[in-house]
């Protein structure tokens, strides 16, 4: 037994050890943060009460949007040929949300009262709504992932029972995602005094929802290529091309709405007159929307593994930049206060949690039937089982 474990550990790729070390270090700093308080471990202040942690949370939730987008396409829109991507994407979503919950916990001044959002509702608060949705949706993701975890255990008899209720659970999950993806945008509506007008808008919830669809799809596309490197498993390029086909439409609507809103509210002039804010905003437009729209409009890009991946990284970078702008870069400074820069401990905790996500993904991919329906890249003869027993 002991020898088996040692052999198993020897067999692990080297980066697993690096990740484990980063997780251990981040965990130690995290415990110190809870013990020592926010003042000693972060650069948060009255002028900048939120920092890189909130930006990370927003970005991760947007990227994890892949799980609900794909679930909607496969189960609600009956696109069963996309089913092979469900398991890897749901796991990515679940780990993403878990990391958000951990970081949110770190961020609470009174972490000892984290459960208060369950018992003291404020129905006007977007953050209250987001907390509930994330908690409920994480549970639904556990449910959606449970067949993977149970398949090779003695409880596998429960899987048919669980799968009977997949569709209602998916519909509940997609509805909850619609709510919290948009409510994360609502969060900033009340902050009109601090957020730069290029980003502040009554349409923020819609912007956040649409961009989460785009970044979610992009994550599935990029993830398929990365998992080819790490696990030697991937999705057929035909499926990736199909997902990529949606992107120009979604990003097009996003781009038109963003510029249209500025035009309607008479804020279009900020586009070129706001210095660093203009640069940040135009970067979002160019790198996050215009370039990927052009790329994914072309058939040869959609059908090329590498080009699709590069395009997907542009989309994700654009959405992540948008979330960092809304919660950090485009928060206007107060007079006489130095701009926020994260403390190294804030970054260490973040790196630790993110490493934990990659570590957990690698290990679950190694020991659980995560890629059952995907194709083995080394053996192209191994045909994908595209339509699984979902009905």
């Amino acid at each position: 037994m002991q020898k088996k474990i040692i052999d198993e550990l020897r067999d692990m790729p080297k980066f697993v050890y690096v990740l484990a070390m980063l997780v251990a270090f981040g965990g130690a700093v995290g415990i110190y943060r809870l013990y020592a308080g926010l003042g000693a471990t972060t650069n948060l202040s009255k002028a900048y009460p939120w920092g890189i942690w909130i930006s990370f949370d927003l970005s991760t939730v947007a990227l994890s949007g892949g799980a609900f987008t794909l679930a909607a396409l496969v189960y609600v829109f009956h696109m069963h040929n996309l089913h092979a991507a469900v398991r890897p994407t749901v796991l990515a979503g679940l780990l993403g949300y878990t990391s958000v919950l951990i970081i949110l916990f770190m961020d609470l001044g009174r972490w000892d009262r984290a459960y208060h959002f369950l018992i003291y509702p404020n129905l006007n608060s977007a953050l209250f709504e987001v907390s509930w949705c994330i908690a409920l949706y994480s549970s639904i993701l556990v449910y959606e992932l449970s067949p993977v975890l149970l398949q090779n255990t003695k409880w596998k008899g429960a899987i048919p029972v669980l799968e009977k209720y997949t569709v209602p659970m998916v519909i509940a999950g997609v509805s909850l995602s619609t709510l919290h993806q948009s409510s994360l945008g609502t969060l900033f509506i009340v902050m009109s005094a601090r957020l730069h007008p290029l980003w502040h808008s009554m349409l923020l919830p819609i912007f956040f929802l649409i961009s989460s669809l785009a970044s979610g799809l992009a994550l599935i596309i990029a993830g398929a290529t990365v998992s080819r490197w790490v696990f030697k498993r991937s999705l057929p390029q035909k499926l990736i091309a199909k997902l990529g086909w949606f992107l120009p439409w979604i990003l097009g609507v996003y781009l038109v709405l963003k510029l249209g809103e500025l035009e309607v509210t008479d804020e279009l002039h900020y586009l070129f007159t706001s210095g660093k804010y203009s640069v940040l905003f135009i970067s979002e437009l160019v790198f996050g929307m215009i370039i990927p729209i052009i790329m994914f409009s072309r058939k040869e890009v959609r059908h090329s593994r590498n080009a699709s991946m590069i395009g997907a990284f542009f989309v994700m970078a654009g959405v992540v930049l948008n979330r960092f702008n809304a919660s950090w870069f485009a928060i206007q400074p107060l007079q006489g206060v130095e701009a926020y820069k994260p403390h190294w401990m804030e970054v260490a905790i973040l790196v630790g949690v993110a490493s934990g996500v990659f570590l957990a993904y690698t290990l679950i991919g190694r020991y659980f039937p995560l890629f059952d329906e995907t194709i083995k890249i080394d053996e192209p003869k191994h045909a994908p089982k595209l339509i699984a027993a979902t009905e």
Binding site: Y35, G37, P49, F128
Partner: protein, 276 residues
Amino acid sequence: MSTHTTNGKYGFLIDVTHCIDCRACNVACSVQNEVSMDSTRIWMNGTGVVGKYPDLQSFTAPFHCMHCNDPSCASACTVGALTRDHDGIVRYDEDRCIGCRYCIYACPFQVPNMDLNETMPLIVKCDMCGDRLDEGEQPACAATCPPGAIQFGRREDMLAEANRLINENPGKYIHHIYGEHENGGTSTFYISPVPFEELGFPIPGATSSAYYNRLVTHGTPAVFGAAAVSLSGIYLTIKNVQEETAEEARAAVIRSAQAAESARAAERAAATEEEA
């Protein structure tokens, strides 16, 4: 869901021309509420020294929670720890607070404070010295102010007094009562000889950001319902269409099989006839 809110019972009137920057209000507040001196519940804003020697000028004013008619902080607070009570006082329940700091970003007056150096930090903000009001006393800052720059009383009296001072002293004050309309109206009024942005005051719009926030958050149940219903509808519609198509395909297969069968039967019949 409207911009209409009731006015508070109490109000402050702070006359910038009377403030001498002695900070007795800050001391009184810190003693009364057991908070540290600077930038907790009350602090000073000012123009700094302006003008050319020998005509130098400096204006200052204490600043604390404005007690909005429609407070943004209360709208934002995740757990409802910030609420506006029936007297119009915006109160903070420190037993509920989870320290998420959303109120700090939500408040257009940058009022809520938190001492992040504490291991278990809480929000610090003015509550109009509610305990003193219950005993029939004025808030500590107003009761202390040596030059009488901070007046406290019924809100409508304070507003009337502010208007009277402006109208009866032409040229002494600018024509703007800060707090009358800011962020949807508040219970704290300032009158000043210089524009308020020069005093370093935040300049929010006339509609509370809490109103815009509610416009969206109150739509939440509708969005959830619409999403759930339309997704279920889409699921069932596509399922039915697919089943119908499959059914038709099956029926077509059966029909053609039957046709082939009857054709073969006819052939066989013809063959037996021929044999016969």
